[in-house]
Assembly symmetry: C2
Homo-oligomer: 292 residues x 2
């Protein structure tokens, strides 16, 4: 009895030690895979929308969140950019995940039995070669993990789902075929966000900022000058509508270096003089698996 | 009898005179509204996917197509950018449409009867204030016009759809409330594409190009220099993954001027020297309703 109580206590302590990390989606989503790759001891908490994830951090319901910012085939996740501008959160890191789509089915089902395949439209498009080869009927649902869940709930022997390995584990499905995507250059870059800033440079850092420029010829050119003339490498530039006025944009820029590095600090100071608005999202270590 | 035959002939001639213009979506889609605003005599032909629209032009099944390129709240339509790079088509014009979302229901239905509202997730998000005020249950479907069609087919008296005015006409629905969007700064910019180029400057033109740069510090800055030093106004810059290599991008740039204008021609010549790839999508008249 004493041992039992002790174990309960231990369990609770272990649970408390787990870091709560928010993501958008159902259990088994690729975002959850990204979380567990960076925080093996995490307690991943799924939310319905990206906005709910950002709210959860602000309310201190989660310590961090992991959100997809861009995919190497599909491009930017627009909504996440807008939320990064809106919320006073900091970017604390990046995670790069190789997206591997798998064909999942109920145990005992063979590929010849399958007629339909459920997944998110983007995943279906990314596996079109495989789907056409096996003459499957693609059916769009809102979530890859949701497709796996649906298959299990319906106990459907004539359908498959395209989802992550983790979704197979969670929903008790069999992985019929692994890695069925057309293009293996399929990576998603996630950002780790939280309330607090990382102040210490590691020597291999990246900085993310947002800025706006006045609508005059050469405005963006002038905004890039402080980086170009110091040899600071821009790794990404993404434009988003300002929403304040049609056809007015904000620029989301990532570049190499920490904002406390002398070179970067002086570039940012100069940038401030040619921009109408500037927001520093944070400096953080470059992912070891960054493919350039 | 002769008159009857004559009329058939006339009808056929009239039909042939109609310009076939492709779009993505169901009849009643906002793209169809855009087509009819620019080609009052058009025969709009709906396709399931953007790729099918591009194929239809190449096969000469349609003379033109009208495709959404960006929305003032949601940003770029990524897939369309990739297809513009892939297909050897020319941009021949732009159309700017104010997107007005309407609440549609069966005739005889009042707002108090409605419990659910069907629409595309983006349209539901853009009308969230209205939806919350009336405590409606949002249900996501793949297409705004498809939502209207579904409502009619189900003969559902307890639901509404958010779609265009044209969708109300086509599916015989009643417009219960007009303009229910949260933000009235809601414009979509469409491009008119076709096989042939517009060679003649009008004096108020815009040019769209795509280019890639080598991954070295200052590469984008150097690519913008030819425009900045000539005072050529960039109206838009959008980055897209190259798909060839992760984290390598192509830049989609719109600027004022026709590519046969001396200033623009020399800027493009200079640009060619600092880019790894360049594709000119076309020069075309600036839309009269361009909001800047």
């Amino acid at each position: 009895m004493q041992n039992f109580l002790l174990n309960i206590k231990l369990l609770k302590t272990m649970h408390r030690e787990k870091i709560r990390v928010g993501f958008q989606g159902e259990p088994g989503a690729y975002s959850e895979e990204a979380i567990l790759s960076a925080f093996p001891n995490a307690d991943p908490i799924g939310y319905r929308s990206f906005r709910e994830v950002f709210d959860a951090i602000e309310r201190n319901e989660c310590e961090y969140a992991v959100i997809p910012i861009e995919n190497s085939l599909e491009g930017a996740v627009g909504e996440v950019h807008d939320l990064l501008f809106e919320y006073p959160l900091m970017v604390r890191g990046e995670i790069i995940l190789r997206v591997k789509h798998n064909l999942l089915a109920l145990h005992g089902v063979t590929i010849n039995m399958i007629k339909n395949v459920y997944s998110h439209p983007q995943a279906l498009a990314q596996c079109s070669v495989f789907i056409n080869r096996y003459k499957l009927n693609p059916i769009a649902v809102y979530d890859t993990a949701g497709a796996a869940k649906l298959l299990k709930e319906k106990n459907d022997k004539y359908s498959a789902a395209i989802a992550s390995k983790r979704a197979a584990d969670i929903y008790g499905l069999n992985i019929l075929v692994e890695g069925i995507e057309n293009n293996t250059n399929n990576y998603t870059r996630f950002l780790i966000i939280g309330m607090e800033d990382i102040k210490k440079p590691t020597g291999s850092d990246k900085t993310s900022i947002i800025f706006g420029v006045r609508h005059v010829p050469g405005a963006l050119y002038k905004a890039l000058e402080p980086f170009a003339k110091r040899g600071i490498n821009l790794t990404r530039i993404e434009s988003r509508p300002s929403k304040r006025k049609p056809w007015e944009y904000l620029f989301y820029v990532d570049f190499e270096g920490h904002r406390l590095d002398e070179k970067v600090a002086s570039a940012l100071q100069e940038l401030q003089q040619v921009t109408s608005i500037i927001k520093i999202l944070g400096s953080y270590p470059i992912s070891a698996s960054q493919h350039q």
